[in-house]
């Protein structure tokens, strides 16, 4: 018989890791963030808390966004450009390098957005419903669509600013 933490873990882990993965585009880093989130959760929240799922989703997106913000700051200090270790260029080297670079560029743009804007985008594009997004970010479900629309515009502008045609 699984204990309440285990039940919650098995139910919510796929969502938590999906959120982190959508932000980081790196499987291994996403698994690390997801596990850190659950360990923090274990320390401070009861698995029976009705806000447990919302807490986990929000912690996952904020923690993952902080990782890419940290990477951006690090990249500003360093000049090295290593290929994404999660996507080793084995089969089609040029293609994989271009795709990895494109994903990194989008993540850099994401890291420049306000935290809440980026969080809203990533929660929704990780597959959470509008109700789940609203719970995680403490907003009304009726406002999710409007803010999501604006967040999409903000991301588009940030990407265009970084890669002018």
């Amino acid at each position: 018989m699984p204990d309440p933490f285990e039940r919650l873990f098995l139910e919510e882990y796929p969502k938590v890791v999906a959120i982190a993965y959508r932000v980081l585009a790196d499987r291994s880093a996403a698994e690390d963030v997801a596990q850190d989130v659950f360990i923090q959760f274990h320390r401070r929240v009861s698995p029976g808390d009705e806000r447990a799922a919302g807490w986990l989703h929000a912690a996952a997106v904020h923690s993952a966004l902080n990782v890419i913000r940290g990477e951006r700051r690090r990249a500003q200090r360093e000049t090295a450009h290593a290929v994404d270790p999660a996507q080793p260029p084995v089969a089609s080297p040029e293609r994989l390098v271009v795709e990895a670079e494109s994903r990194r560029e989008v993540r850099r743009a994401l890291s420049r957005l306000p935290q809440r804007t980026a969080a809203l985008l990533m929660l929704r594009y990780s597959g959470l419903s509008y109700a789940e997004v609203a719970t995680a970010l403490g907003m009304k479900v009726g406002n999710v669509g409007t803010l999501l629309r604006r967040a999409e515009e903000a991301l588009r502008k940030e990407v265009n600013r970084a890669t002018p045609e």
Binding site: A25, G54, W55, S126, G127, G142, R150, A154
Partner: protein, 370 residues
């Protein structure tokens, strides 16, 4: 009634069934809202492409083992890491809903932004189905050579669609960008775990090439009607998917082939844009080609507006169809000996429910999806 706001239109794209009856009635009759919806949907598609990541199936059991080990090791106490301190400060329940600075930035983005993608000037939409219609087909109808003719260069931009099989609902929703739908209850005989399949969104182009068609027809020894000058060189851009399939009753054993007892499928409506030829010109030309049975050509020509109708192939003599109402829109009920199905389109998504069920059971599932 006032027009629907951007937020409501944006939600229709993600959760097409969440609209209130009043808003749905307005949307169905308002061309302005539909045009704004199309622009919003284009922006959402562009964002989905920007944020796409390769497929990944989580492994909760292995992760749980790892977390258990870390929790045990963690009990001893140690200096807090940066993200723990951050989590303390920014625990979601304590975060402000929105700061004025963010609100101002979002408002500026909305006012100054332009549509991210969309149909560029010089292109026009030749196909975007809003209704479904049956087309009776026989087993030998497409055995002829027509389907194998080379009409021009086909390109995927950048990749052909891919199919992923999953067992996890969250991963399926995340990969497809479509909500996992569940019926209010399952009929007797339908049980067990649900299997999921996702098909990625794909954009493909076909550039008509009269010379390639002539060469291909000569190789196969068939006569084709000359490609009209307006079609030759014109380009079609096809946008299809993503799609999400949910199936009950599939065997876990790969050696055992089993028909699912229930399938729920949804896909965003495919669209076709053209640089030159119109929908009618394309239809007239393609339906006159060898390999297209005259009976099927006549049925498609009989469809009042082919640019907004999705033809559903119905095996002749094996199934019958009738129009039905599904949550306020017209659908097509298909009755066969072994089962039944229903197909409908609502708010830019095509839905299908079918299986080894009676027509009443299929309709009950279709109308209760949430």
């Amino acid at each position: 009634m006032r027009h629907l706001n951007d937020g409501t239109l944006r939600r229709i794209y993600d959760e097409p069934l969440a609209l209130t009856a009043l808003d749905q009635a307005h949307f169905d009759s308002c061309t302005e809202c539909k045009a704004r919806f199309e622009s919003i949907a284009n922006a959402a598609r562009a964002t989905a492409t920007l944020l796409s990541v390769p497929g990944f199936t989580p492994e909760p059991a292995a992760a749980l083992r790892s977390v258990r080990i870390r929790i045990r090791a963690d009990e001893a106490g140690r200096p807090r890491r940066w993200y723990e301190r951050w989590l303390d400060r920014s625990s979601p329940r304590f975060r402000p809903i929105a700061t004025p600075a963010i609100a101002v930035l979002l408002a500026a983005a909305l006012l100054t932004g332009v549509t991210a993608t969309g149909v560029a000037q010089g292109w026009f939409r030749v196909y975007a189905p809003t209704t479904v219609a049956p087309v009776q087909v026989g087993p030998s109808d497409f055995a002829a050579t027509g389907a194998l003719l080379d009409y021009g260069e086909v390109k995927w931009l950048p990749d052909a669609p891919t199919l992923h099989q999953l067992t996890d609902a969250t991963a399926a929703a995340a990969q497809s960008g479509l909500p996992v739908l569940m019926p209010a209850s399952l009929p007797q005989g339908v049980s067990g775990p649900v299997s999921f399949g996702t098909i990625s969104h794909a954009t493909g182009s076909l550039t008509f090439d009269a010379e390639r068609l002539r060469a291909s027809a000569a190789t196969k020894g068939v006569h084709v009607n000359a490609m009209p000058a307006k079609i030759n060189g014109s380009k079609l851009i096809v946008n299809a998917g993503p799609a999400l399939l949910e199936a009950w009753g599939l065997s876990a054993s790969a050696s055992q082939v089993q028909m699912p007892t229930l399938v729920i499928a949804q896909t965003r409506v495919p669209t076709v844009d053209s640089t030159g030829a119109t929908a009618t010109e394309l239809e007239d030309y393609l339906l006159s080609q060898p390999g297209v049975p005259p009976d099927i050509a006549a049925q498609i020509k009989a469809i009042k507006d082919p640019s907004t109708t999705l033809p559903i192939p119905i095996p002749r003599g094996l199934a019958t169809t009738e129009p039905v109402q599904i949550n306020g829109v017209q659908g097509l009920l298909i009755k066969a000996v072994l089962g039944a199905g229903v197909v409908w389109q609502k708010n830019g998504v095509i839905y299908a429910v079918g299986g080894q069920l009676t027509p009443d059971q299929v309709l009950a599932i279709a109308t209760s999806l949430h």
